[in-house]
């Protein structure tokens, strides 16, 4: 009986193999082969899917969600460089997001500067702040670093609330114009979708280059063993400051887009809860992988939207889902999804075979 099972060729096996092969084309690679190529075949698949998605699924609500997810993904991407690659904890990313949003809001509403210029100014502003903050606090490690960055968010919020002349205080700034470029205004969610995801793709390419260069190697070295990193001549503190500044600049871009799309900047949006949400996006999506935080951002944005319908239960469901995900996908959705799917498919195969045998 057993031998028969082994030798027997089934059409279904062929089907499963084909399904696995198709999945292997599109799912992120969990292993770490030498990272040299900038673009792989599956990246083209993602790109195509991103391009046609809003055309097929043309509900305005979906476009809005994807715009938000794209902005959060930019933020999470910047944080994942710091958290996933350099292995440092920051709970202060929301502050840089806020700095980006306020810079754009102030420049466009008070001084009438074009949004495109304000967009770059936001990133520069966030980067400058990150450098000034990072210089003293990045000598800290682990929990102390987390606490210091957490303090930074609180200080930022207090400063925003207490300087109404500049930031509009608790009420915030309204009437930020749509993002426009050379006379073309991004005034619908559909157009904004392409704007946000276009920016995201540019930043992914930048990050991919960074990760496969000597900088990326140095970052991963710092994350694993700082002693060994300094033994090969890597200036550990300088590396951490550098990647902190890059992550903050990404957050500045995201904040600027956020201000343009929401047409407002107010302190409610940049609190500690938001910082934690971004960290959750990176952790749930998968650290040490550039697609992970994007998957995490899309997933969490969608989840928040769905759970919004169950007002009073939403937080407990939220917590439950987090716990389950961290149990079953400990290294992130991006890194585990294909392993889980392959397991499931082979499990279905075995189950059907077992059932047939019993009959």
């Amino acid at each position: 009986m057993v031998e028969e099972n082994h030798t027997e060729f089934r059409k279904r096996d062929l089907l499963f193999t084909a399904a696995l092969w198709l999945l292997s084309l599109i799912l992120p690679d969990p292993h770490f082969p030498y990272r040299r190529e900038l673009i792989k075949r599956r990246d083209l698949f993602y790109l195509g899917a991103l391009f046609v998605l809003p055309l097929i699924w043309s509900s305005s609500h979906f476009h809005h969600l994807m715009v938000l997810a794209g902005i959060y993904a930019i933020l999470a991407l910047g944080l994942s460089l710091f958290l996933g690659y350099a292995g440092q904890i920051s709970l202060g990313h929301a502050a840089f997001f806020g700095i980006g949003a306020y810079t754009t809001a102030i420049l466009t509403t008070r001084y009438g500067i074009p949004t495109f210029v304000a967009f770059w100014a936001s990133a520069v502003m966030a980067a400058v702040f990150a450098y000034l903050i990072g210089k003293p606090i990045l000598k800290l490690k682990g929990y102390f670093l987390a606490l210091a960055t957490l303090g930074f968010v609180e200080i930022f919020l207090v400063m925003v609330r207490e300087t109404p002349a500049l930031t509009g205080g608790v009420i915030g700034i309204f009437g930020v114009p749509w993002f426009s470029l050379a006379g073309f205004s991004f005034d619908t969610y559909f157009k904004q979708y392409y704007l946000v995801w276009g920016v995201l793709i540019g930043l992914i390419l930048f990050s991919k280059n960074l990760v496969r260069s000597k900088i990326g190697r140095a970052l991963m070295a710092v994350a694993t063993s700082e002693d060994a990193a300094s033994a090969v001549g890597i200036n550990v503190v300088q590396m951490k400051i550098g990647i902190f500044v890059v992550g903050a600049a990404f957050a500045g871009f995201a904040g600027s887009l956020f201000a343009c799309i929401m047409s407002t900047a107010n302190p409610e949006a940049f609190g500690l809860g938001f910082s934690v949400l971004v960290v959750m996006m990176v952790i749930l999506g998968g650290m040490g992988n550039l697609y992970g935080p994007i998957a995490g951002a899309i997933f969490l944005t969608w989840l928040t939207d769905v759970l919004g319908r169950f007002q009073e239960y939403s937080l407990s469901i939220y917590g439950l889902i987090f716990i389950l995900l961290l149990i079953f996908f400990p290294d992130g959705i991006g890194a585990r999804l294909n392993i889980r799917l392959i397991y499931l498919i082979s499990y279905w195969g075995r189950k059907k075979r077992r059932e047939k045998k019993e009959i």
Partner: protein, 256 residues
């Protein structure tokens, strides 16, 4: 002038004197062995030289420059590479990436040039890859260059750590117990490699428990005992030094 000169180093740990006025000279182009029983202060001396810890008094000169006040990464940039007693290979990176990281300071490129992947960054990366493969070929790891480093065996990881240090093109290579935990065959291979590295013009300082290897490879051996340097000289002289036999080998004669 000696390549490395440690002058009367003193180091205390909470009342325990780990090093007591230890002076050590390493001449250019030689292999120096540093032996001693556990707790003799060998690793402390290594940490002081590579800048991971500060001495309480004394000076260290490398290429005639005082390095004691410098940070570890500044010392390694001067051309001093080291390996670790406890393996410090970056397991989540591939084998070749480990070696490439060793070249960090020799490669040009910052955050912007790397992020935009400027044409010369690509050229430098290609050259670096070629060189890293040469290092791996020398160590016999070329067949596994795309493996994640944690999948290598213990002996191979030790080799990889040495390869990472070699990729820095150092003037002085500090090896901290390179033979610990290796099989006899691997130790023999390691000894061959160490001799070949010396022929390439790199000075080596080895801390080692494996008597046979040190005695076979080193031009000169220094013996530490309870934080003091009790003997220094050729392996033959040290082996027959009564003080060494008394203090370190407890009366037993050194084999090999």
């Amino acid at each position: 002038m000696s390549l490395l000169f440690a002058d009367e180093l003193i180091k205390n740990y909470d009342g325990v004197r780990a090093l007591n006025k230890v002076s050590l000279r390493v001449e250019r182009g030689t292999i120096k062995g540093l032996i001693g029983p556990n707790g003799a202060g060998k690793s402390t001396l290594f940490h002081l030289i590579s800048g991971m810890e500060r001495s309480d008094s004394g000076k260290i000169y490398f290429k005639g420059k005082e390095i004691a006040p410098l940070k570890p990464y500044e010392i390694s940039r001067l051309g001093l590479a080291r390996t670790f007693q406890t393996l410090q290979v970056w397991g989540n990176m591939t084998v070749v990436e480990n070696v490439l990281t060793g070249m960090h300071t020799r490669l040009r490129g910052g955050f912007f040039s790397s992020g935009f992947w400027l044409p010369w960054v690509k050229r430098i990366e290609d050259e670096a890859l070629k060189e890293a493969k040469e290092v791996l070929e020398f160590l016999g790891l070329l067949g596994k260059w795309t493996w994640p480093a944690f999948q290598l065996s213990f002996g191979e990881q030790k080799m990889l750590e040495m390869g990472r240090a070699l990729a820095m093109r150092p003037d002085l290579l500090l090896l901290d117990e390179p033979a610990a935990g290796l099989t006899p065959a691997e130790v023999q291979k390691l000894a061959d490699k160490i001799c070949q590295i010396r022929q390439a013009g790199i000075t080596i300082l080895i801390v080692e428990h494996h008597m046979g290897m040190v005695m076979g490879v080193a031009d000169e051996v220094a013996v530490l005992h309870n934080g003091e340097l009790i003997a220094e000289g050729t392996p033959h002289a040290v082996r027959n030094n009564p003080q060494v036999i008394e203090a370190y080998l407890r009366g037993k004669k050194v084999d090999a």
